[in-house]
Amino acid sequence: MSIAWGSLLVVCAVALAVGVAVVALVAFALVGLSARVAEPAGGPNDGAPPAMSPAAGTAIAVICLVAVAAIVAYGLYVIVA
């Protein structure tokens, strides 16, 4: 009986890094996309302009989503290969 503890550790590290990275990237992308929406009327920051310019927000969102797409594509490659 032998357990490849090394590989097991790699699995844990990779899964943690990739799982958290994808969710964080999507979350940042959504923060970026939120810059395209004005603060809702009647909210705590009623009518205030977004903290980020819509263009900057969109750019951040695109970068994050491209990174996520790359990771998903690699995931698909792992499934197929």
């Binding site: 009986m1 357990i3 699995v11 990779v14 943690l16 809702p40 998903v72 499934i79």
Partner: protein
């Protein structure tokens, strides 16, 4: 018993197992998407079914081993496979009735271990391998998936705390559709393979195929169709448990849970660790529940699942052993096993009709905080 007849019986039984595997595991990919409303119940099971079928054709590396070395495969004959499958099917049906997500792989392994010990003695079972290939991954993988989902959920809420609520909710809903599809696809490549392996090995032992052959096209097609159909039928009881009874799941949590499950499944299968999709997905949902608010998780449900997980292998082994004992007495014995199995399956189905869970009421849980009723 006539060789060709027993082969037909085994192939049919294997496809039935594949079907139960499918509807048992719809919840892995789709429970949280259905619970958060990212996908309507019918759409969710349709996508999952199609992706399972696609997955069955995608994978090119077919393991020509049905037990991953847990039992001495030289000792396996069609009767043993039949008895093992009966054990696995009955356990899958029982846990489905109770709405518990248990591992179909463990049920299959258990059934085969039980049947092999009766047919060839306990010496034919590799208990060291049982520890390394079943017990240790079963302990580590749900915890790992849970931790990943917990961290991811916590970050998702922190990062988006001040973002536009509508954008966040829509964004994670879209994300969930992708992440749930990845889980379904990964499931198809893994689990449909198991049944193909069983059928192919049966055909080889019966001399219908040369040793070492790959599964014929009709085997791939029928196994893919059986698991896809099972997935499409939807194990609504288990979907309700995972989607609604573990915790009140919101879209960021659903996305975090499915992404974490995918990451764990792909990382481990890439490095050659076999693990249970069910246990990973379940662990991830608990982690996602805890990542938002620790107290919102129904830990009593976790306890019931843990008990079901521990029992899966021994219980399926016991049924497999009893079936092997009876089936090895000859044709009559095999027929008796088949009839008893059909009767028990019908009984479990009849019991499920008394309080049916369907696509229409899957998201309706009587009282959120009520203690989970024991149907046992």
């Amino acid at each position: 018993m006539d060789v060709t007849l027993i082969v037909v019986v085994v192939v049919a039984t294997a496809l039935i197992f594949d079907f139960t595997n499918g509807f048992h595991d719809t919840a892995n990919a789709m429970a949280t998407s259905i619970a958060t409303g990212a996908l309507s119940p019918r759409t969710a099971v349709t996508i999952a079914g199609i992706l399972n079928l696609v997955g069955a054709f995608l994978s090119v590396q077919v393991a020509l081993t049905i037990s991953s070395g847990l039992v001495d495969e030289a000792q396996i004959n069609p009767i043993v496979i039949f008895a093992g499958l009966v054990g696995a099917i009955l356990w899958n049906l029982l846990t489905w009735l109770l709405g518990l997500p248990s591992s179909s792989s463990h049920a299959l392994f258990g059934g085969l271990i039980g049947a092999t010990s009766v047919a060839a003695g306990a010496g034919a079972v590799n208990f060291g391998k049982v520890l390394t290939a079943v017990v240790i991954p079963a302990v580590i993988s749900p915890v790992l998936a849970g931790v990943v989902a917990l961290v991811a959920t916590f970050l998702a809420y922190r990062i988006t705390a001040r973002a536009d609520k509508g954008t966040v909710s829509r964004g994670f809903k879209l994300g969930q559709i992708v992440s749930a599809s990845m889980v379904a696809l990964a499931h198809g490549t893994n689990d449909a393979q198991k049944t193909m392996g069983v059928i192919t090995l049966t055909l080889i032992t019966a001399g219908a195929l040369p040793r070492g052959s790959a599964p014929p096209f009709w085997v791939i097609l029928s196994a893919g169709l059986a698991i896809a159909l099972g997935t499409y039928i939807g194990g609504w009881r288990i979907i309700r448990t995972l989607g609604k009874r573990v915790s009140e799941i919101q879209t960021p949590q659903g996305f975090a849970a499915e992404t974490s499950a995918t990451a764990v499944i792909l990382a481990s299968s890439h490095l050659g660790f076999a693990l249970s999709t069910t246990q990973v997905a379940t662990g991830a949902i608990f982690g996602a529940g805890a990542g938002r608010r620790l107290a919102s998780v129904q830990w009593g449900v976790a306890g019931r699942m843990a008990i079901a997980w521990i029992l899966t292998l021994p219980a399926a082994a016991a049924v497999g052993a009893a079936s092997a004992l009876l089936a090895s007495t000859g044709t009559i014995g095999t027929i008796v096993v088949a009839l008893v199995a059909i009767a028990m399956g019908a009984g479990i189905y009849a019991a499920s009709r008394r309080r049916p869970v369907t696509a229409g009421n899957v998201n309706e849980v009587p009282a959120p905080a009520a203690p989970v009723t024991s149907a046992a």
